[in-house]
């Protein structure tokens, strides 16, 4: 099959199989996405980031932990492209290794929070009655809490570590997903196909898992993509307050925090991780913007 005909096949107005239709829809989405140059830029940056994280030990010029007190706070140079920090460690190497931590945090939170939200939201919406009342009241309570302070409290309670920081962020990030999922569930709940499935004898659990969840997922994905940058920034905020990754882990927020003592004379120590955080969260925002155009046609297309 030639390239042209594959394209035709994908874009066919009359797909012959379900598979062809699904692939075709995906391809359509890809075309829309690809047309958005900024979103593509975001995607490229993220692919580079993932590559950097995977290859970190091979591409980092030095160990991220190797100290050299004699060569501390050196400005960017040929030996240290991004300079060295207060303990003489190579900032570039630390940034490269730090990308793993960033991806770990974002990835884990982005997996946990929507799942909690999806579960609570759909159960509340589907069950209705007092279950709905109780679950939504709990969601309200968490929504009314100042987020960073709640995360701080959790980390303080659980002890500072990267794992607990992830948990705390996930625990503070789920309420909006729950609301979204519940709203979606309420609109689907009385749809004909649900009634049909129910008539066929599908149990409540099966209805929830097989019919309701799949329909909520796409709006959740958009929301997650748009939330990624926020998660990165919150994680960096925790790291900045010393409650995220523990030394000597090169977490970017903690690196800024380290660098702020030197910000007046050695700007690069704080600036480099700052730029890294900015670039990555920008990339996630661009990607999210593009994804929304594809997945959520109701939304604001630009």
């Amino acid at each position: 099959m030639s390239a042209v005909s594959r394209r035709d096949w994908l874009l066919s107005d009359a797909p012959r199989t379900r598979c062809q239709a699904r692939l075709g829809a995906l391809y359509q989405g890809w075309l829309t996405f690809r047309a958005n140059r900024l979103a593509m830029l975001g995607l490229v940056i993220l692919i580079l980031l993932i590559g950097m994280a995977i290859l970190a030990p091979w591409i980092a010029p030095q160990s991220p932990f190797a100290q050299d007190l004699a060569n501390r706070l050196q400005p960017p140079s040929a030996a240290h492209w991004l300079g060295t920090d207060a303990l003489g460690r190579d900032i570039l190497s630390r940034l490269i290794h730090g990308s793993r931590i960033t991806l770990f945090i974002v990835g884990t939170v982005a997996l946990i929070a929507p799942v909690i939200g999806l579960f609570i939201g759909t159960v509340a919406g589907f069950a209705g009655g007092w279950v709905d009342q109780v679950l939504m009241r709990i969601t309200d309570i968490f929504l009314a809490f100042p987020k960073l302070i709640l995360a701080l409290a959790f980390v303080a309670a659980l002890g500072p570590s990267i794992g607990n920081a992830v948990l705390a962020l996930a625990l503070t990030a789920w309420p909006p997903y729950a609301r979204l999922a519940r709203a979606e569930t309420l609109t689907i709940r009385n749809a004909d196909f649900i009634a049909a499935a129910r008539l066929q004898g599908a149990g409540r659990l099966r209805l929830l898992v097989r019919h309701i969840w799949p329909l909520c997922v796409s709006s959740l994905i958009v929301r997650v993509a748009l939330d990624m940058a926020g998660i990165i920034l919150s994680a960096a905020g925790l790291g900045f307050l010393g409650l995220g990754a523990q030394p000597p882990m090169p977490e970017w927020g903690a690196m800024i925090s380290d660098g702020r003592a030197y910000i007046l004379d050695f700007w690069w120590v704080a600036a480099m991780p700052g730029i890294a955080i900015f670039t990555v969260s920008m990339a996630f925002n661009l990607l999210g913007d593009g994804l929304r155009d594809v997945l959520d046609p109701k939304g604001d297309k630009s």
Binding site: R137, I138, F145, P146, D227, L233, A236, A270, F278, D300
Partner: protein, 366 residues
């Protein structure tokens, strides 16, 4: 569906330090509340009590020992035990919680162990500082964000739209603590254009009689122009920073609302009738987005109130966010609980406010 519900938020995510850009949840919350006033009040009370309960439990499971903060490093075990009993920590948790709720209802938030003063008095001191900062931040966000959003929608795809989009995306992507540090370095350290960390120049401290606790207001009330200038030079940088985040959110939301209105039939009709573009945009479309816009602004204000922790820390701003954070890290639970109640009440009041506004102003909801 109401106008607020059909729009997607522009380039959004939920950072800790900026407006929750997609208040889907809060909107849904509001919708449900519209059902009955009594039910609303009841659920608000329940939310607050739940909020307190969660905070209370966190405080009790936290491995930070409040007694130690009071007695200090060198205390003997006997002195420690005496303080433990004096603080009422030997009573069962349930008793402690019920006593606390009872006290709060009579306006007694207890005494903070990290400042040694009544929590109510502490909050009366720090909250105005946060309100002042958040208000000015929101003001900046509205004054720039709204026109920017409207123009971006009117000239969709044009240069201003592109600029607005980039401005918003950058705003959503920048770590606020980093931007704050850099801002302080450049505008205070290098250029000397603005005042340094803190709310006032030190020699102005305590000069203006305390009326509202908001120095900008108090200095105007006292007619002290120099103190006002000084306070303004200190607040402008952190407020601009918060204002930028608020601007990013408000401009995107404004743009969304406008786009929706501009594609509505009545706009097309107006255009066909030959109405000028300016009139269409400002007299018709903009007037129609006023209600959802006010809601968005209220939410943005609310999240600046609760979300300025890092900004306050960087600018040595003695506000509520840094007060709660500090209290949390020293196990000062009375202070944390008091601060959380205040923020919870703000959240609830702002929601109620947009609820009422919505019902009063939106003809469709009648």
């Amino acid at each position: 569906m109401s106008a607020t519900d059909t729009t997607g938020a522009g380039g959004t995510s939920s950072g800790a330090n900026r407006p929750d850009p997609d208040p889907t949840g809060r909107r849904a919350l509001r919708r449900r509340r519209a059902r009955s006033v009594a039910g609303t009040l009841l659920s608000l009370a329940l939310t607050l009590v739940g909020l307190l309960l969660v905070t209370f439990i966190i405080g009790r499971v936290m491995p930070i020992d409040p007694v130690l903060k009071v007695v200090g490093d060198r205390a003997t075990q006997a002195q420690y035990d005496a303080a433990y009993v004096a603080m009422g920590l030997d009573r069962p948790l349930v008793v402690q919680f019920v006593t606390y709720i009872g006290d709060v209802l009579t306006g007694d938030f207890g005494r903070s162990i990290s400042t040694g003063q009544p929590v109510a008095q502490d909050i009366a001191r720090v909250f105005p500082a946060t309100v002042e900062l958040a208000t000015l931040g929101t003001l900046i966000g509205v004054l720039i964000g709204v026109p920017l959003g409207v123009i971006a929608a009117a000239r969709r795809g044009g240069i201003i739209d592109q600029v607005a989009r980039v401005v918003a995306l950058v705003g959503y992507s920048m770590p606020i603590f980093w931007l704050g540090l850099m801002g302080l370095l450049i505008f205070y350290g290098m250029l000397g254009w603005v005042g340094g960390p803190g709310r006032q120049g030190i020699i102005y401290d305590g000069m203006v009689p305390d009326v509202t606790g908001m120095i900008l207001v108090d200095s105007l009330l006292a007619g002290d122009w120099a103190a006002f200038q000084d306070a303004f030079s200190h607040i402008i940088l952190p407020a601009s920073l918060l204002g930028y985040y608020s601007l990013a959110y408000i401009s995107r939301m404004t743009r969304s609302f406008m786009l929706e209105q501009l594609s509505a039939e009545y706009v097309i009709t107006a255009r066909v009738k030959g109405m000028s573009e300016g009139a269409v945009i400002w007299r018709h479309a903009f007037r129609n987005i006023a209600i959802p816009l006010v809601t968005v602004i209220a939410l943005s204000f609310g999240s600046l109130l609760e979300g300025s922790v890092l900004t306050e820390i960087i600018f040595s701003w003695p506000g509520l966010g840094s007060y709660i954070t500090r209290a949390l890290l020293s196990g000062d639970m009375n202070a944390v609980l008091g601060g959380t109640v205040v923020i919870g009440v703000c959240f609830v009041v702002l929601n109620l406010f947009s609820d009422i506004l919505y019902r009063v102003l939106d003809p469709r909801s009648k």
